[in-house]
Symmetry: C2
Subunit: 411 residues, 2 copies
């Protein structure tokens, strides 16, 4: 692996998380620590979109000598550099697009490219890497994963997931307390994010192993959803106690593959062709009202799942920063075309290390919840899942507040 | 005012808040400090409903010598004793109901009655007081307000409001950051609680005076909602920047008095005859999609507004406990039939004191947002509102966590 010298650029892409800026802080620290290899770090505003417009920030200057600013960056939710959802063309379809990029890299002597994002962003890393193999421009390209969905391949878990899981786990404890105050039979349906994988919804159950409360049932996209079975589950829970709470993923599907929430939506899709989903909670609320007739309500935890930085997991923030810094170290030592990952050591103690895998093997795959984490009945997660999750939500960072509100960083 | 001696009972009623247990802790502390007047404190499970079934807990024994337990109680959301929504009959309509209550009071030598609740609970206090005036049973009855809605008369603000407002203010900052990451024109509608008064929705704007962000517009039930004006507001905001965020109260009404969200609901009412509301966000989302056609989404902050104890305002918790303790002191000194209130001293410095007013003057009234807190255009709040609110959301209590989740108390 040949070592090179020059400037670096970092961008953020895809949906925000509470920890994506911790990764950015990790990249900044990595660059500041490797001044012999990387002279200057640029930040692209709004990912590749901003890079194409040369909308760049000199992050080396911005953060020079200010550890304080980096701490504030770490506690700021959503992509501080801005994000985009630009899907790159295939190199063989649009070489001119890549030539434009290379011209910009040359202009700023950018020899290191760090892209923090989810599945679609790792596709950007894979395509840029593929193009560079056909070009004589030498650049190291590293993908650094972030997604609250935890659905990336090749990593024990994704940076950003632990904080989202902690928000869900804590909020579910609070909602369960709220629901427990009345004696009137009532069903509360909590709809959680997770289009293709149930990792977020599964997090709602973790109170079970900590002496807390847990929802009666948990429905993940990994298990076929059967409406009759669901109503029978709810009835049996109502027979046990008056306050029934179920957690359900937005992505649950019937046996025919149709989303349960699909009936309530327009069938619109986003730029990547993902079906636009919302409303499984409302669909199930109506079904319970019609067939059981008890008090019922549904709620979505919605955007705070991905941006509630005030409740970030300290473990997640530490790892998110760690993986960013490790990406810089890897690139400086000559690695390219790889995506960072978190490896967990086997054994009782929670120990992680940072590694990397070829972007081409990661991009566009979806990691589902492991089958052994779902109960055979398909209506809950196992204790083994809760034990797997628990280390990821550990620790509360002491956040800086001013005037009663958390301090956030803006560029 | 004649002083009496005996036992006390405390209950919680109405919707939960993040601070209702801090008030319970204040009552416990007040009783423990006044052992010469009050021998024992009972807790009614599920308010008056539990009292009628003699479902009582000996709180004096439970908390004896455990300051730790009281701290955990203070950070536990939702009514730890359980709640109810039992509306008491009028004394003249059902004397037998009150005779049953008096028999239970006599059986347990209960001479002090503390009821922590919202508007409907203060109605309970007023009715019980009215009945006692016709009875020879001597008992001191005190109402202690709690409601996230801040819509009680006679108090500068209600215990519980500050924490809900802090949750909304912090979450709005995070949502605004989240919405700011893309360059694509998009409208985000955040629907907030508040059936009759806009205090909660108004809290979304406070970032304006703290150097934070603020929604483009804020719509309260106090101002007539005009759909054309709303769409024109949104269009003018989109002309200024791509990421438009508006906050809207669930209770906004058209000029004809109909709820904007009404079209999407069944018209069902709750036990107190309040219209069941939800869905103004979805109604406005559809209106924007149809008439403007840009990307649009709506979200409800939902139950966490009233149960997110992990983000409680330290000021609110302190005052909520303080007002509970002050209620005990007042009752021990002979006061009865009154509802506690928080008075704010005039002047720049934030100083509060606890006072009390006759329950009959408080119950069933609704305190709207002051007209001078709304801009003349009816689509935002004034800076003076933000300055009024700011002291109430100050301070973050160091919460006890275990295994990554906040510790909660259960009886």
């Amino acid at each position: 692996m040949k070592k090179i010298f020059g400037n670096a650029v970092v961008g953020q892409s895809g949906g925000p998380t509470a920890a994506i800026n911790a990764t950015l802080a990790g990249v900044v620290r990595g660059v500041l620590d490797n001044g012999k290899t990387i002279a200057k770090l640029y930040g692209m505003k709004n990912g590749i979109e901003g890079l194409l417009q040369e909308d760049l920030i000199d992050l080396s200057a911005f953060f020079a000598g200010s550890a304080e600013k980096l701490c504030i960056l770490e506690q700021t939710p959503a992509a501080a550099l801005g994000s985009c959802r630009l899907k790159l063309p295939k190199p063989q379809d649009d070489a001119a697009f890549y030539e434009r990029l290379i011209a910009i890299f040359k202009k700023y002597d950018i020899r290191f490219f760090f892209y923090i994002g989810g599945n679609d962003s790792m596709d950007t890393v894979a395509k840029l890497t593929a193009y560079l193999e056909t070009s004589d421009y030498e650049m190291k390209v590293m993908g650094i994963p972030k997604t609250i969905d935890n659905d990336l391949l090749g990593t024990d878990h994704t940076p950003g997931y632990g904080s989202a899981a902690k928000y869900i786990a804590v909020t579910m404890q609070e909602v369960l307390r709220d629901c427990a105050v009345y004696r009137i039979p009532a069903v509360t349906i909590v709809e959680l994010m997770g289009r293709d994988a149930g990792w977020l919804t599964a997090a709602s159950a973790v109170g079970r192993i900590t002496g807390g409360m847990e929802p009666d049932y948990v429905y993940l996209p990994e298990c076929v959803f059967d409406l009759d079975k669901f109503l029978s589950d709810v009835k049996s829970a109502l027979a046990r106690h008056p306050n029934v709470v179920v957690a359900v993923s937005e992505g649950v599907c019937f046996a025919n593959g149709r989303y349960v929430g699909e009936g309530s939506q327009s069938g619109a899709t986003d730029k990547f062709g993902h079906a636009y989903l919302a409303g499984v909670g409302k669909v199930l609320e109506c079904a319970i009202r019609e067939s059981i007739g008890c008090k019922v309500r549904s709620l979505e935890l919605s955007l705070p799942q991905r941006c509630a930085a005030h409740l970030a997991s300290d473990t997640d923030l530490t790892e998110s920063a760690g993986v960013g810094k490790a990406a810089v170290l890897a690139a400086c030592s000559g690695v390219s075309g790889e995506v960072m990952a978190i490896a967990r050591a086997s054994g009782e103690q929670y120990i992680v290390s940072y590694e990397h895998h070829p972007a081409s093997s990661i991009a566009n795959g979806v990691r589902k919840v492991d089958p052994e984490f779902c109960v055979p009945e398909g209506n809950n997660v196992t204790d083994s899942f809760c034990r797997w999750l628990l280390p990821l939500i550990q620790g509360e960072r002491e956040m800086q507040y001013q005037n009663g509100l958390p301090v956030h960083l803006t560029f």
